[in-house]
């Protein structure tokens, strides 16, 4: 999907949402405190967009690193947890359980162990992003591609690396979809991390806006998040296609 189309589609969605809010506001007759009027949002935009843009980019950078880590992690766990052996299952149980613990509950333990700062932010982002990728990777990695693997298996050549390579290759479209899509999760994960843990990034700014009950700022933040994410997502999909093309030679 071309980048510009992705962006104008996002704009449509955003302004549809905004119009919905305004519709409610004016039909029920709500004050600016509950739902800010267009003038208020516009004024807020003028005041904060530069700062928020910097925040979003800051967040994006962390999210990108977090995504790389989490894809790597998911790959590792998926590869080692793909077999129905004791160890495979153990790794899977561990991976699933870590995910079930809401970050908010783990955060204090993380702070004790790691302190605050960029590392905790990264870790939380990675933890939120890794699991969905993991699910796909496990699903893909635990399903044999018999017509290809058969030969390597009977001739004793099917090392795990080859097995993983074959299954990844045969499911390349699915994998790239999931990995490109997980950018969204890394982004949301980073924002959550900033919300509960950091002193920088758009999540942190959102928290402050929330304390101030300032919905206008939140709407501006959501707009910038959406734009930046659309672009990032688009670039990742292009990258995915490039990977597919070069690897599959099509």
């Amino acid at each position: 999907m071309p980048l510009h189309r992705r962006i104008y589609q996002f704009l449509i969605i955003y302004f549809l949402g905004l119009s919905g809010l305004m519709l409610i506001k004016y039909s029920v007759g709500l004050s600016d405190y509950v739902i800010p009027g267009p003038a208020d949002v516009w004024e807020t935009w003028g005041t904060v967009w530069r700062r928020y843009m910097r925040d979003v980019v800051n967040t994006l950078l962390v999210a990108m690193v977090g995504q790389v880590i989490s894809v790597f992690l998911a790959g590792l766990v998926g590869i080692f947890g793909r077999r129905a052996t004791w160890l495979g299952n153990f790794i899977k149980v561990a991976a699933y359980n870590v995910q079930a613990y809401p970050i908010v509950a783990l955060a204090p333990i993380l702070f004790i162990l790691l302190g605050d700062g960029i590392f905790t932010r990264l870790l939380i982002a990675a933890m939120i992003c890794y699991f969905p990728v993991l699910l796909s990777v496990i699903g893909i990695m635990s399903e044999p591609v018999t017509e290809i693997e058969h030969f390597y298996r009977v001739t004793g050549r099917l090392r795990w690396q080859l097995e993983v390579k074959i299954r990844a290759f045969e499911n390349l479209t699915k994998l790239t979809t999931v990995i490109a899509g997980s950018a969204t999760l890394a982004f949301a994960g980073t924002i959550v991390a900033e919300f509960i843990a950091a002193n920088a990034g758009i999540g942190y700014s959102i928290r402050i806006a929330l304390y101030q009950s300032d919905l206008s700022k939140i709407l501006v933040a959501l707009f910038l998040i959406g734009i930046v994410l659309s672009i990032y997502q688009g670039l990742l999909e292009v990258l995915g296609r490039v990977v597919q093309r070069t690897w599959a030679g099509t």
Partner: protein
């Protein structure tokens, strides 16, 4: 080395019809053996019992002293991330490089070694798969319609080449072509239609190879024998 099957009985789980009912045969000598019979009679199933992929049968199935039982079938694929030539290179054991080049040449796939597997025609795919198996160390290679999508002339060239290169190895060639198996195979295990007893009989073939002459009448005799056995 010999392949011996005695009193083999088997029914697929969940089905009611007995696929094999006390099937017995023996292949005592290395060489080119055929398995022929109507579609659905159980050729593939038998092959996969020999290689150990299907278990749960009763009776005896002995691959006496054989190391390396290979099963090659016509739906096998090669990974798609590089050309088939590269893949063949990778799976060539040390010392077999000239064999590989020889096979690529004779099998007629030199021109497509740089293509990915999915870009090959079916017959080309068949041949690449077969080369891959032939490069391995094996005592028995089952070719389950491995050349089903290759034209007759190329197939003949290939069969002669294989027989020439591997005189001391067992081959089990699953095919429908009565002429072909009668001509090239040393022994032909003919599966008979359902309800016939015994289920299979062995007919000796002409075992034609490079340097031998083929007696047309005897070939026709073998063909007749095979068809009679089947009927």
């Amino acid at each position: 080395m010999e392949l011996r099957c005695s009193e083999l009985s088997f029914t697929y789980p969940g089905t009611t019809i007995e696929l094999f009912d006390r099937l017995s045969f023996t292949m005592g000598q290395p060489g080119f053996h055929a398995l022929i019979g109507p579609s659905g009679v159980g050729k593939t199933s038998l092959a996969r019992m020999i290689t150990g992929d299907i278990t749960g049968f009763s009776g005896v199935l002995e691959t006496d002293g054989m190391q390396g039982l290979l099963y090659s079938y016509n739906l096998e694929r090669l990974p798609g991330w590089s050309g088939v030539g590269k893949h063949l290179e990778k799976i060539t054991p040390p010392g077999k490089h000239s064999l590989r080049d020889d096979l690529i040449e004779v099998f007629g796939i030199r021109s497509v070694t740089r293509a990915r597997f999915s870009q090959l025609s079916l017959g080309q795919q068949n041949r690449v798969n077969l080369i891959r198996s032939l490069l391995q160390d094996f005592h028995l290679l089952i070719m389950d319609e491995s050349l089903a999508n290759v034209d007759e002339m190329t197939r003949e060239t290939i069969l002669l080449k294989i027989k020439d290169l591997f005189p001391d190895t067992f081959f089990l060639y699953i095919s429908y072509n009565v002429i072909e198996v009668s001509k090239f195979c040393a022994g032909i295990l003919v599966f008979r239609g359902p309800g016939k007893s015994p289920q299979a009989v062995t007919v000796p073939g002409q075992d034609y190879r490079i340097g031998r002459t083929l007696d047309k009448d005897r070939l026709e005799g073998t063909m007749l024998e095979v068809m009679n056995a089947a009927a």
